[in-house]
């Protein structure tokens, strides 16, 4: 929490926690430090004689800043590492693709909706998967999903309340062909990404102003770092100021840290260095995956032949192509989380590891 916050808190006469024998933390020349401290102390004491300032305590005596209320992230290991996510603060979670950022995002959402809070996700690239949300236990009624993208209001031709009809892949193919023709133009992609970022920032401003949300997530995970870094620090500062003194958790998911000192908690995720993709050939899970695909009648033979019980595999040891690939099952990721910065405690950076599992892994 910044000094500005402390001043505000002091002016608002909010309670602070103090250490009993806290010394004023004022820099002076070592030889003259005693004189300096005495002079300042006298000045402070003199000002405290003013009856109007009787209830105001000098900031120099503040030893411990008011602690933020912490909320569970939904992953016990992360909670053990960070103490939870601080309310009224900006939290950054960064990492590369497949580092578990979205898993943490959904776990946090699920935990917040379980507490009965309303949540909002501003999805910069329209990349969240509703099935994954439901599988993670997110209460979809309590989630506001803002899907930023290229479409703007004036170009919107879709009928009101219309349901997106399932499209055959043929049409998708046409889109991707068109996309691939313009993919070479970096300028267009940069403009798109700027447009999306602008949408994200405007939507975030509006949601923060609206209030009442327990958790607001900026999903910038697919925004290239060079674009994300163009967000000025003043914007992050504005967000931090807008969210403080509120019970809202502002969470940003990104590839690299971009909010600088505006974030109160910075967490870095990455795949665990080894043995992070253990694939467990579990008959029940394989059965579920097959059942979900209702593929038993089309293309799959005897399940027992494909999924021998108790067999475990590591991808790095698997000779690809030498055996049937559907005897494998992707069961989850092992994530390594490192606490880079936290305003809540002064502990040195430390890390933990936790595992995630796919919806069909049981």
């Amino acid at each position: 929490m910044s000094s500005a916050v402390i001043s505000t808190s002091a002016a608002l006469r909010r309670p602070f926690l103090f250490e009993a024998d806290a010394e004023p933390d004022v820099y002076c020349h070592p030889e003259r430090s005693g004189t300096c401290v005495k002079r300042i102390s006298r000045g402070v004491e003199g000002s405290l004689d003013d009856p109007r300032l009787a209830s105001v305590l000098p900031a120099s005596q503040l030893a411990i800043r008011p602690a933020s209320e912490m909320a569970s992230s939904g992953i016990p290991e992360l909670d053990a590492l960070t103490g939870g996510l601080p309310r009224g603060c900006l939290t950054e979670i960064c990492g590369a693709a497949s580092s578990g950022r979205t898993t943490v995002l959904l776990a946090t959402l699920a935990a917040a909706t379980r507490r009965g809070e309303f949540c909002a996700v501003i999805d910069a690239n329209d990349s969240l998967d509703p099935q994954s949300m439901a599988a993670a236990g997110v209460d979809l009624d309590r989630l506001l999903w803002v899907r930023c993208g290229e479409e703007i209001a004036s170009k919107s031709k879709s009928p009101e309340g219309g349901c997106p009809t399932p499209r055959p892949f043929r049409r998708v193919e046409i889109f991707s062909q068109k996309d691939s023709t313009i993919a070479g133009s970096k300028e267009i992609s940069s403009r798109e990404s700027e447009h999306r970022l602008e949408q994200v920032l405007r939507a975030t401003d509006l949601l923060l102003e609206s209030g009442g949300f327990g958790l607001i997530i900026l999903d910038l995970a697919d925004v290239p770092p060079q674009s994300a870094r163009r967000i000025p620090l003043t914007t992050w500062f504005r967000f931090r100021r807008a969210v403080e003194h509120k019970a809202t958790i502002l969470l940003a998911i990104e590839q690299q840290p971009i909010a600088g000192s505006c974030s109160s908690l910075l967490l870095k995720l990455e795949p665990a260095p080894k043995n992070n993709h253990v694939v467990d050939i579990e008959p029940s899970a394989a059965k579920r995956r097959q059942s979900a695909a209702h593929a038993a009648s089309r293309g799959f033979g005897n399940e027992k032949d494909q999924a021998p019980e108790g067999r475990k595999k590591n991808y790095s040891n698997t000779p690809t192509g030498t055996e049937l690939s559907h005897i494998n099952l992707f069961t989850g990721l092992e994530i390594h989380a490192e606490l880079i910065r936290s305003r809540m405690d002064r502990k040195p950076a430390h890390s933990i590891a936790f595992e995630t599992k796919t919806a069909w892994a049981g």
């Binding site: 693709a97 009965g116 990349s127 479409e151 998708v172 995956r289 690939s325």
Partner: protein, 554 residues
């Protein structure tokens, strides 16, 4: 006890209700076919300037200070509806006596609203809140109350038994105030003339006439008039059940081209609607805006012009459009084929009653969907609904305020698109895109969340998530023994490389009975791209052909 609410100079009152800024100006209302338009009503300020209702419009136009307005049946209907709302907010027994007069039975209302004088004052205040300046009178019978309201300005309370005494000073013309047109007016004029010839100028004199002699000369009508003059004409009220229709309209002399003056008029209509709804202790959940547009070029109404640009850019001045009116057959803005009407419907998740919020929502909606032609008439209808009743709890987590949230959502929809903001609803299908967006409502979700045991909840939370590419990325796949060995994606350089490990194929298919049938093989695979390893879902479209990267496990 009965009360009467009377709006003097009704046409003027209707015009002033639509244009409150004219309250301190001379105003005259004219009617008739050009060029024979005549004044039919003038206010006090106009009378002081020498303007009388017998003048022609051309004569009145010589007075530069005079505000001349055409008679507007739309505004008069709205004013009459507002008058009924005012009466029905005090008593369920209301008689619609005339367009400018309503009667109401106050029996038993003292326990709710206080003494009769308090009720009179409250009625008068309510009428002012609805933009009306009303005379209010109470008496022991409806007709006495009606005569008192028409005869005395302000509030009049006639005690029981004092009717004849109180009504005495009123001129005899007050008995015929409801006969303003046709045969009734002629008969009334004859009767007044006859009474004048007899030297009967007020009700006291009429009440004192001998009954038999009066009956011999004027018949039963004379006796009825005498009973009225004595304030002793007992009758039962004929209550009406006014339909719950809340509609306000403005007819414009000159078409509106810009959104800013339209917002000004909409604000006025919304305030009137909200005042009416509020007087009936109602709110609204649906607003319907109908704009009648002028067809400038006279093109066929079936002409389709889908390309009317949206002027949502704040730097530009917002026009409602100057191009030819077009027909939109989408479910959004609708222009009817015959009448060139532009209709917008604003559905709210919960009943609300805040004119400012409604105005902002309508503005945002019109910014996104401009009418496309100059506007001639504005109709605004509110569908009444019971106001929401919600009680917050001290220990409940905070939730967004519905009005604020609705505005925020409308603003965000203006930024990202209407279908891109809301809550998700999963569809009962195995299709990977089996979801749809629906309106996000904070109220509905106020229920207590299901309690789960911590273990199961945590176990459910750490589920590996998929991030989808929308649309899926086309990929070139190198196969070996029918299995993917290497991927190349032109659009996303990060998603390419050697396949380290794979699981699949998992075959999905569905909707084979529809045109949009789908069938696909899914693979989960790990890719090595330089030092980085990432997990993706690869899809082989079995019907359309081609390989696509559908998403990344993250």
């Amino acid at each position: 006890m009965f009360a009467c609410i009377y709006i003097p100079n009704f046409s003027i009152a209707a015009a002033l209700r639509a244009e409150p800024e004219l309250h301190s100006h001379p105003v005259a209302i004219f009617a008739g076919k050009p060029p024979l338009e005549k004044l039919i009503a003038v206010n006090e300020y106009a009378k002081r300037l020498g303007i009388t209702p017998t003048m022609t419009k051309a004569q009145a136009e010589l007075c530069s200070e005079l505000a001349l307005r055409p008679r507007s049946p739309l505004q008069e209907n709205s004013t009459h509806a507002a008058l009924l709302d005012c009466a029905q907010s005090f008593s369920p027994y209301v008689e619609d006596a005339a367009c400018d007069t309503v009667l109401l039975n106050l029996a038993g209302m003292e326990s709710l609203f206080g003494s009769i004088s308090k009720i009179c004052r409250a009625i008068s205040d309510r009428a002012v809140a609805l933009g009306l300046s009303a005379n209010v009178a109470t008496a022991s019978n409806p007709d006495a109350a009606l005569l008192a309201a028409r005869g005395f300005p302000g509030t009049t309370i006639i005690p029981v038994g004092k009717e004849a005494e109180q009504l005495g000073p009123l001129p005899t013309a007050v008995l015929f105030n409801d006969r303003l047109e046709g045969e009734g007016k002629k008969t009334a004029d004859n009767l007044v003339e006859t009474l004048d010839r007899w030297g009967i100028h007020n009700l006291r004199a009429l009440a004192a006439l001998p009954e038999i002699a009066l009956s011999e000369r004027l018949g039963q009508e004379g006796l009825r008039l005498q009973q009225l003059a004595r304030g002793a004409a007992p009758r039962t009220l004929v209550p009406v059940e006014a339909p719950l229709v809340f509609e306000e309209a403005i007819e414009l002399e000159h078409p509106i081209v810009l959104l800013e003056p339209l917002a000004f008029l909409l604000n006025r209509l919304l305030e009137q609607l909200c005042a009416r709804l509020g007087s009936r202790a109602l709110a609204t959940q649906e607003l319907r805006l109908t704009l009648e547009l002028s067809n400038l070029t006279g093109v066929d109404d079936e002409f389709e012009n889908p390309g009317i640009p949206s002027e949502s850019d704040g730097s530009k001045q917002n026009h409602v459009g100057t191009a030819a009116s077009g027909v939109r057959r989408s479910e959004g803005p609708q222009l009817s084929r015959r009448h060139t009407k532009f209709i917008r419907k604003l559905s709210l998740p919960i009943p609300m009653l805040d004119a400012k919020v409604f105005l902002k929502l309508l503005q945002l909606d019109l910014n996104a969907h401009p009418p496309g032609a100059p506007i001639m008439k504005i109709h605004l209808t509110a569908e009444p609904a019971r106001p929401r009743s919600a009680q917050g709890g001290l220990f409940l987590p905070p939730s967004p305020e519905p009005e604020k949230l609705e505005l925020t959502l409308a603003r965000i929809a203006g930024i990202v698109g209407e279908q891109k903001v809301g809550a998700v609803e999963l569809l009962d299908t195995h299709h990977p895109k089996g979801f749809r967006m629906r309106r996000f409502v904070a109220e509905v979700a106020r229920r207590v969340p299901e309690k789960k045991t911590p273990d199961s909840a945590e176990a459910q939370s750490a589920v590996t998530a998929l991030r989808r590419f929308r649309p899926p990325l086309r990929a070139n796949v190198t196969l070996e023994n029918g299995q993917p060995e290497r991927l190349h994606c032109a659009k996303k350089k990060e998603v390419q490389g050697e396949v380290l490990w794979k699981a699949g194929p998992w075959r999905f298919s569905g909707d084979w009975w529809e045109r949009d049938a789908w069938s696909r093989d899914e693979w989960d695979l790990a890719l090595r791209n330089g030092e980085a390893i990432s997990f993706h879902r690869l899809v082989h479209d079995l019907l359309g052909g081609g390989w696509f990267i559908e998403g990344t496990y993250d």
